[in-house]
């Protein structure tokens, strides 16, 4: 089956076997929208690896995966795509190979380069949704500025220790400057103290993937202009408003 085969079936109201368990949640129309959608995942580490896995299984038609890093031993505790076999391999390329194993209907474009101001427009402008799976604050702020400039929704998450935050940034709403000071020691991050354990990025990434599905299908209510903050150490889950 190709993506076109699946879309043809869905157009006739029939459900491709591999998407049967999706339909009760997002409907036939939702699945068609996902298969026609284009999503950029910026970062293929702890957050990105899980997001890519979930979006491929859910059946998002095109994934552009951007990461210039290669897997190291220190990634093995939490990054789904980091295995003993992929050590030293580029993260974006490894992610595309994983997607091909999961769902050959999903087209991928692996970009084994760091996201920056020079390549931002070229890599993002033809996307329906952008996912922030980065790990530095300055890069996140640049990504948010570019997403808002290009008028593309951005799904943000960040984690540290037992703590994480997820939110959706729309072109006209408040941006990540509400969450990170842009002056002073903006790169002093608490994950350098609290660490990045196995489960926290998976929790945040799963919610990000769900946000992407909601944005693309129109089902449900997104976290736009909001921030879901969680601290699983104390069982705190708070929905905050970015104003």
């Amino acid at each position: 089956m190709t993506r076109e085969d699946s879309l043809a079936l869905l157009a006739r109201g029939e459900i491709p076997e591999r998407y049967k368990r999706n339909i009760g949640t997002i409907g036939i129309d939702g699945q068609k929208r996902l298969l026609k959608a284009r999503v950029a995942i910026v970062g293929a580490g702890g957050l990105g690896g899980t997001i890519i896995e979930l979006l491929a299984r859910q059946g998002v038609g095109f994934l552009r995966i951007i990461d210039g890093d290669s897997f190291e031993l220190v990634n093995l505790n939490r990054q789904l795509l980091a295995t003993e076999r992929t050590m030293g391999m580029n993260k974006a390329v490894s992610a595309a190979a994983r997607v091909a194993e999961i769902n050959s209907e999903v087209e991928t474009h692996a970009v084994p380069a760091m996201f920056n101001e020079d390549n931002a427009t070229e890599l993002l402008s033809d996307m329906n949704v952008i996912v922030d799976a980065l790990d530095t604050i300055n890069c996140r702020l640049l990504l948010c500025r570019m997403a808002q400039k290009l008028k593309i929704p951005l799904v943000h998450a960040a984690i540290a220790g037992f703590t994480g935050q997820v939110g959706t940034i729309l072109p006209t709403g408040p941006g990540l400057e509400k969450l990170f000071k842009t002056t002073g020691s903006s790169e002093t991050r608490i994950e350098t103290v609290l660490g990045n354990p196995a489960a926290t990025p998976a929790v945040a990434a799963a919610i990000q993937a769900q946000e992407v599905v909601k944005l693309l299908t129109g089902v449900g209510e997104t976290l736009s202009h909001k921030l879901l903050y969680f601290d699983t150490e104390l069982n705190i889950y708070e929905l905050l408003h970015l104003g």
Partner: protein, 78 residues
Amino acid sequence: MRIEVRLYATLRRYALSAADGVLSIVVPEGSKASDVIASVGVNADEVHIVMVNGVSSPLDQVLAEGDRLGLFPPVGGG
């Protein structure tokens, strides 16, 4: 006036009397978020997000009786 201060993640270490980071304190009328940050001894450089009653607010936000002030450090890992 009495307000509640909630310190999150690494900022909880400033709440010596409360392991969960939640403090109920009395502050002068007209106090701003920045005044409270100073009075509880939190290093202002570590505070990236200020929430008053769950809404993102500036440091010079004037607080009212019963307000809930949430202070968050920067979370940047991925």
